[in-house]
């Protein structure tokens, strides 16, 4: 294998060899290499296939902006990731990588047929090609597109890694550790401010890492860098975070940092998090993110071996790798000349420098002459050749009048291009900071800012090392001063500056038909210049529309290398200046970020809290099946050996109706309403009348929204003249308390009432069944439980099993029932005592499913299941719960709005299927005539449906238009297999006379 490593060049550790694989082939790299630099050192340029056309692609850049070199990685132990950029992936021993978007292999790829058919895949192809015939969409187009679409292969196994997160605060955050960022951090650090400096790369330095020959204050760049690192490390008030990307810049200087902790390690320490999200609030921010080099737009600019000139220079100077043996440089900017010079000095043959500009700075021409490099000033590139790697470039002279002359072909194995530089204003743009077009520099620069934020260096168009250092120092000092620290910016002397003039490349002139040129603008999304021109011809004028139609700039790289080129092509096609065409919006994250980083600790059991009652553990020990109800987990049913859910629920139901059931109702929402105006407050909140409710009595309470629709319900006990014990639905507790607080604080602040959530203060044990009283009587002190003294809907305080209780005589089953409230800590003990004593009655623990069946048999509604936010009290058959003489309550006025009185409103009714064995599906739609044509007129839906063991048949509740007036009529429920017939009935299926309540 050829070695492209150059002796004496680069910062990688030659003495520490790394073994890794790419597509199953074993390669050697050095400590400090990225996958890209290591592959290039082995002469490998072809690393992937493009997204749409499956064209062979190589490494384009040396940084996080890379659009082409995306690979799948396998770091062992189930750690895999698609679409990792080879240019930022640090190699380590044992790393396995593979190319993407190819089958069966990278060099022989079937999907490349798309390239030959590329005329079919032009701008907007998703919208056009697949419109006809319509029937083809489901069966042909969509499956084929889905199969072909997407980048890489998503891992199928759960992510084995853990992710950390932390909040942090600092005086000055510096984003970017290049010349400007280092100067800023040094300045702010010296002032005494607390500083965080983050950089996405493994080591600080930015462009300094590619400029070993520059001298700063008399020191060679890398020596200066070593001292700067040491100075920062010596300051306790400075935190340096390498491998850390500022991914998003949010309001009030809130910045998200993604710190990569273990991806570069061959052996990951046990339990070490892979990445950490820093949620950072900074008083001041300095953005020193540098600039990104632009490709040039010409036919064949995407072949492997065609790369950015600055990247080639980085591979040479930082990694000691030559990107070819015979290179050609094509440019509209001075900086590419320096790449040619450095390569020539390192012994690489530079076949030519092609500069599209008519004139170039004389010192560059002189330097090229001295190195005996052929220069073609005022020439253009019109094509390249080479199937899997560039083998030649076609160049032509351009006259002053713009006429393209006869072509010449130059053989080469690498073509280095530069269309100038784009300041990285992404994070500034996240803050809604405005961008203004700089005509001289042909770039967007930061304008009016919205945050306490400064930009420095190339990131705001100040190119060159001296400018970067001084701008960074000034920004760092000013940021420190604004954070309350004194600072005086240092002065920097720099020798060996690069020349930094140039023009923004338009699509290069050509002697061929530009309509057939495969001149790529967006490499990752395979968008060509002609696609953008087509979009303009089809009437798209705004760059936001052009972007969406062509997908330019919409790939995972957010168009870091392509946006300005796309804009320039659109601007030329529209014959309008670039700022008039507009710039698309940058959005977080700056670079692709793993889902794990965002999730942090919030996964598995920590994704959401699970609320458990004090009796939950008993249920678990006794084999309960659980179901989630809002955040609670509740015992669903208690299967005995050999029982399925159906059998268990039937047994539990039978036990309650025939003898005694015990149920954990602790999750019921509970609110204590106390104060001299408590009754008045209740009158205003609930539909019912409360004034005359005597202490020691309960009432079913109905709560509406101001719009008149049912929001919640529950039994409410009056404990004293000024004290109510309110219960709410399990899921509604927080919502109801919030609503009550809202009215109390903002509408009726004069009422003397206090609201307290007591949901978790009480354990609630429901005892239901004809033997309920017999069981508890011996355990209760201080309460006369006789029917006369303690009737249905009574409440009293006393003791049970020796502990304080609020005892309710209530029933959600239709049977004689009690709800025993005891302080939460006694819940399990009382439960166990009663369970033990209840054995003589065959006491049966039951879960939420049985509770649902029993209440449905009685026609008791569940808010949120039988109601859906569009039901009035009358719709639900609860008109009786309205205190008609009350002048006002929340929602009252809405009940007389015309639509609320309409005759054809959906009303809650009972349903009995014609076939008693059929249990309807909850949510199933109801029609009156099953023979009408599709789409049928739906008149309602099933809200609750169960098997009733008591009745030996199914029962259901449903909302049906005008349902109460249709009693006895047959309706139909069309399902995929058949149509079920059912009869509309009343809502009470069991004991309509309520004789059992007082058994």
């Amino acid at each position: 294998m050829t070695n492209f490593r150059i002796a004496g060049k680069g910062r990688v550790n030659r003495s520490r060899q790394i073994r890794f694989t790419f597509d199953g082939v074993d390669y050697a790299g050095c400590e400090g290499d990225t996958l890209a630099s290591a592959l290039l050192a082995n002469g490998v340029h072809l690393v992937g296939r493009s997204f749409k056309y499956h064209r062979p692609r190589g490494v384009l850049t040396a940084g996080s902006e890379e659009p082409n070199a995306l690979v799948g990685t396998d770091r062992g132990n189930g750690r895999s990731e698609p679409n990792t950029r080879a240019t930022v992936l640090e190699v380590f021993d044992g790393l396995k990588t593979e190319s993407q978007n190819r089958w069966p292999s990278l060099t022989r790829d079937i999907g490349a047929v798309n390239d030959a058919l590329s005329m079919l895949f032009s701008a907007g192809f998703y919208y056009k090609t697949f419109m006809w015939p319509k029937s083809f969409w489901d069966k042909v187009y969509e499956p084929v597109i889905r199969n072909a679409a997407g980048l890489g292969k998503a891992p199928t196994a759960p992510d084995p890694d853990t992710y950390a997160s932390r909040f942090a605060h600092c005086d000055v955050l510096v984003v970017g550790g290049g010349a400007a960022g280092l100067a800023a951090a040094l300045e702010a650090g010296r002032s005494g401010a607390s500083v965080i400096l983050c950089d996405e790369q493994a080591e600080l330095g930015g462009s300094l890492l590619s400029e070993p020959a520059a001298e700063i204050n008399g020191q060679l760049a890398w020596d200066w860098l070593e001292d700067a690192n040491a100075a920062l490390a010596a300051m306790p008030n400075v935190t340096v975070l390498p491998r850390t990307t500022a991914i998003g810049y949010y309001h009030q200087n809130f910045v998200g940092l993604c710190q990569r902790l273990t991806d570069h390690l061959a052996i990951v320490p046990e339990g070490a998090p892979r990445e950490r999200m820093w949620k950072l609030r900074a008083k001041q921010v300095v953005l020193a993110q540098g600039a990104i080099e632009k490709p040039l737009v010409f036919a064949g600019n995407d072949r492997p071996g065609v790369m950015l000139a600055g990247a080639a220079r980085t591979y040479l100077n930082r990694y000691g790798v030559k990107v070819g043996n015979r290179v050609v440089v094509v440019t509209t900017h001075d900086s590419a000349w320096h790449a040619a010079f450095d390569l020539a000095q390192a012994g690489v043959e530079v076949a030519a420098i092609v500069d599209v500009r008519g004139t170039v700075p004389s010192q560059l021409a002189a330097a090229a002459d001295a190195l005996r490099i052929r220069t073609l000033i005022g020439w253009t590139v019109t094509g390249t050749k080479g199937r899997l790697r560039v083998s030649s470039v076609r160049v032509n002279p351009v006259t002053n009048g713009g006429k393209v002359g006869a072509a010449e072909t130059i053989a080469c194995d690498a073509l280095l291009m530069s269309g100038g530089w784009t300041p990285s204003v992404h994070l500034f743009s996240h803050t809604q900071g405005s961008l203004t077009w700089n005509e001289d520099g042909q770039m967007f620069l930061p304008g009016r800012g919205m945050e306490e934020c400064r930009l420095a260096g190339a990131g705001k168009g100040r190119f060159g090392l001296k400018a970067a250092f001084e701008d960074g120092a000034a920004a760092g000092a000013a940021a420190a001063a604004d954070a309350g620290f004194g600072a005086e910016p240092a002065v920097y002397h720099v020798e060996g500056e690069l020349s930094f003039t140039g023009v923004t490349g338009r699509e290069l002139p050509t002697d061929r038909d530009p309509g057939h040129a495969k001149a790529f603008v967006d490499f990752q999304n395979d968008v060509m210049a002609k696609d953008i021109r087509l979009a303009v011809r089809e009437g798209f004028k705004s760059i936001e529309h052009i972007k969406r139609y062509t997908t330019t700039g919409m790939a995972t790289d957010q168009g870091k290398t392509s946006n300005i080129n796309g804009l320039a092509v659109a601007s030329d096609a529209l014959k309008r200046p670039i700022p008039a065409v507009g710039l698309t919006t940058f959005r977080p994250p700056y670079t692709p970020t793993s889902f794990g980083t965002f999730a942090g600790y919030n996964k598995g059991a920590l994704f959401e809290v699970t609320r458990k009652t004090p009796i939950d553990a008993w249920a678990e020990e006794n084999g309960a099946a659980f179901e989630p109800v809002s955040l609670w987990r509740r015992a669903w049913y208690f299967p005995q050996v050999g029982e399925d859910m159906h059998a268990a629920v039937a047994r539990e139901c039978k036990a309650v109706r025939s003898s005694l059931g015990i149920f954990d109702a602790s999750t019921l929402g509970k609110i204590e309403i106390v104060g001299p105006d408590a009754a008045e407050f209740m009158n205003r909140m609930y539909t019912n009348a409360w004034t005359k409710l005597a202490p020691g009595r309960c009432r079913y309470g109905l709560l509406l929204g101001e719009d008149g629709f049912i929001r919640d319900d529950g039994v409410i006990g009056r404990l004293a003249h000024d004290r109510f014990h309110v219960t709410t639905s399990t899921g509604g507790a927080a919502r109801v308390l919030n609503m009550m607080e809202d009215y109390l604080q903002t509408e009726w602040p004069d009422l003397k009432v206090w609201l307290t959530s007591t949901t978790e203060q009480w354990s609630v044990i429901a005892l239901q069944g004809p033997n309920a009283r017999k069981l508890i009587e011996p355990f209760v002190e201080g309460i006369d439980l006789s029917e006369g003294a303690f009737p249905h809907m009574a409440v009293a305080t006393g003791k049970i099993c020796g502990v304080p209780t609020r005892l309710f005589r209530v029933s959600f089953t239709g049977e004689l029932g009690f709800e025993i409230n005891v302080p939460a800590r006694y819940g399990r003990a009382v439960w166990e005592r009663l369970f033990e004593a209840g054995q003589r009655f065959g006491i049966t623990p039951y879960g939420t499913e049985t509770m649902h069946v029993l209440r449905a048999e009685k026609g008791y509604i569940i808010v949120g299941q039988d109601t859906d936010g569009t039901l009035t009290p009358d719709d639900a058959g609860l008109g009786w719960a309205i205190g008609k003489t009350k002048p006002d309550f929340v929602g009252k006025r809405s009940l007389s709005r015309p639509d609320m009185l309409a005759k054809d409103r959906k009303q809650l009714v009972g349903l009995l299927t014609t076939d008693p064995k059929t249990v309807l599906e909850e949510g199933a739609q109801i029609v009156l005539d099953p023979n009408q044509p599709v789409p049928m007129k739906m008149v309602g839906h099933v809200t609750s449906s169960y098997w009733s063991a008591e009745l030996g048949r199914s029962i259901a509740l449903a909302v049906i238009q005008g349902g109460r007036s249709l009693q006895g009529q047959t309706v139909h429920v069309p399902m995929p297999d058949t149509v079920h017939a059912a009869t509309i009935t009343g809502m009470v299926f069991v004991d309509p006379e309520n004789t059992r309540l007082s058994a």
Partner: protein
């Protein structure tokens, strides 16, 4: 994540402690039954939804639990000021003054 100043706690706290509660200064009519259907509809459903300055309600849900009012720009998301529930709608001058004091804070 926004920082929001609770006028009761007199402190800036992160947005996660707060819940939004709709437009401010929409008082519940003292006697709803006296309102026409249209007026009641407007009270229930019609909101200003401005582009720019918005008077709105927040609750310091995971703090003191109090509802309060805020002046926020719906374009920039910047809070000009917050004030206690029941206080009158602040004037342009009061809002400008509050915003300038805020800017001047180091």
């Amino acid at each position: 994540m926004l920082l929001i100043r609770c006028p009761y706690c007199e402190a800036e706290r992160p947005e996660v402690e707060f819940t939004y509660a709709g437009e401010a200064h929409i008082a519940r009519p003292a006697d709803p039954s006296a309102l026409s259907d249209d007026d009641w509809r407007d009270f229930l459903f019609i909101r200003t939804n401005p582009r720019g300055r918005h008077f709105e309600r927040w609750r310091h849900m995971h703090g003191c639990g109090r509802f309060f009012n805020a002046v926020r720009d719906t374009v920039t998301d910047k809070f000009a000021m917050t004030y206690k529930a029941g206080a009158p709608r602040p004037s342009d001058e009061e809002i400008a003054l509050a915003a300038s004091v805020k800017e001047a804070r180091p």
